[in-house]
Amino acid sequence: MVTRGGDFDMGRTYSNHTKGDYIFDIVNTTLLILVLLIVLYPLIFVVSASFSDPLEILDGKVWLLPKGFTLEGYKRVFSNNDIMTGYKNTIIYTLLGTFVNLVMTIAGAYPLSRKDFYGRNIIMLLFTFTMFFSGGLIPTYLIIRKLNMVNKIWVLVLPGAVSMYNLIITKTFFQSTIPLELQEAAVIDGCSNIKILLKIVLPLSIPIIAVMTIFYGVAHWNAFFDALIYITDRKKFPLQLILREILIQNQMDEMMNSDIENLAQQMMMAEVIKYAVVIVASVPVLMLYPFLQKYFVKGVMIGAIKG
């Protein structure tokens, strides 16, 4: 990770660590620990609550560790058809969507990374312009409806097939890390451009492919906007839309102080599975997290160099 000059232990050798510096260190460490606790606490609470008796949570007895340990929440999550269908859909959308994203991003980034690609500037300009100006929600919706894509799987894959931001990062990576000489040598040997891409460029680009897989994959996993607009068939809802129904709409109703009997029952149900479902929905991303961390950081760095 990023460290600065061995964390600066020079202070000791110079031994001009004044009293002020010690106070500075103490204040700084205290603040860091405070930040740590503030960020960490909600996460720990959710995990503990997911294993707790909902009545204990409602009574406010769960503070740190699970109270009245139970797996009831998880049992209900895994026996809930909506959630399981949503889960399955999200896995499909994520796999398919990420694959299309990767292919399209590389297909766009590689030609644009080549200096001898005639017309790259104008193409780049036209692509980049879309980052700053768009037709907007309604015209896009009308066109997608016209293309007959509403309620099709493809509507969650194609309209977002390329993220210009990611394309720029990938292009920058190709330009800065793949030696041009290597490619030129291949051309002299009679390699076609496609062959150069597949045999030389891509094998050298594993880090950026990993970064892109993660960027796109997490985005698909967490996405709900496109599904909200384009998917009306409940059987095709991704997990996030189901989560919204269970978690937010119910809780909002609670805020509204509704006193309908049926709703109260629903709310109790939601209370039982609320935390478990958050865990189940976030676990795939969180499990990958230690692995993701390294690559995500790399991606931000490459992005920061240009753009």
Binding site: R4, D7, V39, G136, L142, L243, L247, M255, L292, V297
Partner: protein, 318 residues
């Protein structure tokens, strides 16, 4: 005679240029095939809707489509401008943006500085690992955890308020709390992630400068103020431009998820309004007009912020 010659050379030059283009094209024809689907993607899903934005100047009739519907000029724009909610929407949009920018912009800088100054490497590593994590959670999860924590009956915050002997606060149902909740939960989720870029900038500072300052007897705090902070300025300015350029572009998802009938008066922003009037009420032309209005303001904002910054700090996006 003379003109003929120069005409000739010009056309030769043009021919040569054409030939060069043709040659470049035929040599790399497979690259063009490769990028073709991407060009098609941008044409269909980006530029076609841009062309279709003309619906904002028409009265949309479903049977006649975008292209066949009759023109009505700026009718929808003036309806929006003259509506009683016009200024409310603008103020909410700008208010939420400015509020979260004011609170959220310094947060990652402070965090990066704190981590950078930490004497314990392992504490720094732990803070990094933990603060990056919320960035990966979905907006739905973030908002639901927020709502759960603020619940008047079972939420932790209200438990504490009740312990203190006060009445529970219906945070999500009170308009005056919306901006604060939006901004603070944003910091909770993204400050760690945002600090990465500053950590990278900090890693680039030459340690010799610090050593020289130490020899001169500068305290840790002074070194922070006079060395570290100035080094972060270019990065900070660039990010500020980016943020300022999208002031009118509040992210739809989180506002939409946090929104309910009770807090609508302070939570309704342009993007949620476009969604409601377009997708729910099917007033396509009108909401396309509102959306276009927003896009144009955004675009102007970005360009002018960028220009100003170019003049003042010589930092710009392009």
């Amino acid at each position: 005679m003379r003109t003929l010659i120069s005409n000739n050379t010009a056309s030769v030059r043009l021919n040569r240029k054409k030939n060069k283009a043709l040659k470049a094209f035929s040599r790399n024809y497979d690259l063009y095939l490769l990028i073709l689907p991407v060009i098609l993607y941008f044409a269909i899903f980006k530029y076609w809707p841009m062309y279709g934005v003309q619906i904002a100047f028409k009265d949309f009739i479903a049977t006649r489509g975008i292209w066949g519907s009759p023109w009505v000029g700026i009718k929808h724009f003036s309806r929006f401008y003259n509506s009683y909610y016009f200024w409310d929407l603008i103020f909410n949009t700008l208010g939420i943006s400015l509020y979260s920018l004011a609170l959220g912009f310094p947060a990652p800088i402070l965090l990066a500085l704190m981590m950078n100054e930490s004497r314990s490497k392992s504490l720094k590593k732990i803070v990094q690992t933990v603060t990056y994590a919320p960035h990966f959670l979905s907006t739905v999860v973030i908002v639901s955890v927020l709502v759960a924590f603020l619940s008047p009956r079972s939420g932790l915050i209200n438990q504490i308020i009740k312990l203190l002997g006060r009445d529970p606060i219906y945070f999500m149902a009170e308009p005056k709390w919306f901006k604060t909740l939006y901004a603070l939960s944003g910091i909770w989720q993204n400050a760690g992630w945002g600090s990465i870029i500053y950590m990278a900038a900090l890693a680039g500072i030459d340690t010799e400068i610090y050593e020289a300052a130490m020899v001169d007897g500068a305290s840790k705090f002074k070194r922070l103020i006079y060395i570290t902070l100035p080094f972060l300025m270019p990065t900070a300015v660039t990010l500020l431009i980016l943020n300022a350029g999208s002031l009118m572009n509040v992210g739809f998802e989180k506002v939409f998820l946090m929104q309910n009938e009770r807090n609508l008066e302070s939570s309704d922003v342009i993007s949620t309004f476009v969604y409601r009037s377009g997708m729910i009420s099917a007033e396509y032309s009108f909401s396309a007009a509102v959306g276009l209005f927003n896009s144009i303001i955004n675009f102007i904002l970005l360009i002018s912020v960028n220009k100003t910054s170019k003049k003042l700090t010589e930092t710009s996006l392009w």
